[in-house]
Amino acid sequence: MKKYHQASWNEPLLIEMSKSGRQAFSLPELKPEVLSAINEDRPENLIPEKMRRKTDLLLPEVSEPEIVRHYVRLSQMNFGIDLGMYPLGSCTMKYNPKVSERIAKNPKFSGLHPYQDEQTVQGILEILYELQSLLCEITGMSAFSLSPAAGAQGEFVGALIIRNFLNDCGYSSKKDEMLVPDSAHGTNPASAAMTGFKVVKIPSSEGGIVTAEAVKKVISERTAGMMLTVPNTLGIFEREIGEVSSIVHDAGGLMYYDGANMNALLGRVKPGEMGFDIVHLNVHKTFATPHGGGGPGAGPVGVVDKLSEYLPVPVIVRKGGEGYGFDYNRPRSIGRIKSFYGNVGVLLRAYCYILSLGKDGLKTVSEQAVLASNYLLSKLDRRYYSLRYSTDQPRKHEFVVSASPLKRKTGVSAGDISKAILDSGNHSPTVYFPLIVDEALMIEPTETEPVEFLDQYATILNELAERANQSPESILKAPERTSISRIDEYRASHPGSLVLNWRYLLDGAKKKKDDDNKGKRNGSSNSRKDS
């Protein structure tokens, strides 16, 4: 294993660095001509007295160099895909093209206000309209809304469309059940529940897929629809999807496609041709926009023709000879879902990506994503990491192995392995998901990993398993080469020790208590690293 060590700073909070009188802001002075015109030297007096802030605003007082140093140090204690492998299952942590970052900084985009007249923003409207068309072609849908801010919001939109459509068909609340496989991502049942649906679980077959047989057991006249991702979270293609879609449609329900796993299907299969009526895409996954530490993303939603009138408002349209604009006159729309028009900055990057890959490139992406995943799987030591479900079948862009054999032999769990991987300068896979695999390690390398990195990752996993065999205690100490050793998560969430902001540092009484605790910590451990 290569020697890696993450930077480790004992970086205080900015409020701890604060010194009265220091400042980092740079603002123009109030001009005398303005002050005399408004007849007021202190503009805050223009606010009614009872609405003025009287208490001090306790933000840090620091200089610009201190701020930059603070955040650069913090960045060194963070890990991104630009540093090493980040094979989180279903997250599609692929390389983020830098040209998109440059283009998105163009002031002729970044300075645009959403309430500008349509005539003044034809450039961005043209791009968004084209993006809608590209996404329609990629997914086999008839119309798209670019509004949703994330996949989960797309799911909420889709569930609302299903609910409203069925209401209009005269079903009212009779169709109130949403079918969701037991392997589904947590957002699926959460979104369905938010929309007022009762979640009905479909058990995965022995082969790990949703079978027509299983669906027939849970389908009823109460079925409003099904939410499914293909390939599923096990990385297996849902080969009975054709029949499954028919069963749901025959029962009067609609099919919803969770696009999180679209990376396996680009240029090869269209959700629309698998029988799906509604689709969301995660552009921060499939279309390479940066994950940003947890956002921003975008979750555009596509629909078949009969559902297009239900899309959220507004929809971007061509207005005869006048160019592009927004259509708000949509009486059957589920309503507005997002301020303005969606995460346009993110969508612009997705547009750049699609243009950069082109028709052949997108197909290369799915092929290589699937090749990388199967290749990595083939290198793993199956004595420790066992494949579950349809073991004779290839996976697609991701796979799930169980670390149960490892745990049985050595006591070292998937969670422990996930901590030990961090010491290699790579990120761990997703652990303990999907729920239907015990000690699950869900791995999606993506197509942007050079084969050398795939080899190295497999070597790391195998070496860790061997080491677990020899001396499990050494694994349980991990991580030891990250900026901090294993975190006390229990204490973090415990009501007695829950600290959600730095207020306690500003509150004198609590500060003393904290000092006392710090003293205890310094005394109890000699291994405290200093910056």
């Binding site: 955040y71 005539q119 996949g151 902001n501 405290r528």
Partner: protein
Amino acid sequence: MTIHRFVPNSAEKIKDNMLKSLGLTSVEDLFEDIPSSLRIKGGLKIPDAISEIELERKVESKLEKNFSPPEYLSFLGGGAWLHYTPSIVTEIISRNEFYTSYTPYQPEISQGMLQSLFEYQSQICELTGMEVANSSMYDWGTALGEAGRMAFRVTRKRKIVVSRGASPERIAILRTYCYPASIDVKEVDFDPKIGNTDYSSVRSVLDHDSAALYIENPNFLGIIEESVDELSQLCHERNALLIVGVNPSTLGLMRPPGEYGADIVVGDGQPLGLPLNYGGPLIGIFATKKDPVLLRQMPGRLIGQTVSKDNSKQGYTMVLQTREQHIRREQATSNICTNEALLALAVSVYLSSMGPEGMKKLGSLCLANSHYAQKLLSERGMECPYFSGSFFCDLTVKTRLNSQMLPAKLARHKILGGIPLGRFYPDLSNVSLFSFSEVHTPEDVRTLVDALSQIDERE
């Protein structure tokens, strides 16, 4: 398969070696379980790949069709405001370690993002006067939608009263979020002269069946709400939550909602130094009290401070995840997963750079500019402000010209603005909203005033 610079193993020899090690001759073997009836025939009907040079040229030529600062002066607000993005904000969020990272599920290797988000939460609490803030929602409107759902979960009541002076778009989003839970949204009108929420109207609508009252301060019409203590008391008498929506750039000088009894504060962090980006991405602020009931029902990610297990170092991690979808699934407080984390980092950097004095000065500049515009416009004989209530950075002007015709005419003067309120309120067909910030010079304001009075005189 074509070679692509983003796809390292697409090089022929490398691909072949990988296939060989799998004992395969073709990648197609890995897709054989996909029924042929489902496969796309003939490939996607999208253009071929273009080079980086061609891409830049193509996209830039499209963007050239847009009108934006600096060629145009912009005076638009209404939920996203034109402010200055300090250079250090752009610099820091461009660091690869931050922007190419994911949700910090492995805290030990993600302390950078986690500490930044903890600092963001802390700063938002200070600004709003609240006790707990999450590490972001999508935007103000959806934060409001989630606040409405939370009010229902906490009170079990299905009615939310909102001021018509709040943003119509945000109210629309609230309705979309409330509809599936059968929560009724009832609007109370604003005072036609003052532009604020009329207390007695609220009093007659906010009953014991109400889960919450929502006001914005300043409101969408730019007016500062002053009856906040009375409204707060009313809410608590009727066991309803007070939800206040804020533009946080005003909170350097405005009384924070936490001090007048807000139970939930929502808002957008965009005016805290984030570029407009045609309205997205934005960042939803969501803050509440540390009351155990409210905290348990709060949506979104929460970062907490803790220690390493060996007690040697202070650290940060996601906490109270049992509220969230990845643990609780259909019983989660919200389905939110991906949020606006990178922008929370940006806001944190911005607030660090502003500090208390900068936030005061920011507010002063906005107030000075809006009131300067008001003075000059009223001296020119225009009905400005239209509403008599106190205002912060947003100014209402009544014109002889229909407000929806005004932007096109101003564009000829190389000015973008105002927001035609007639678009949202039929009773305000000739009223426009102009917003001012620290980016406007006195000359900019005078340019607007000259153009507006010229246009209006011609009517």
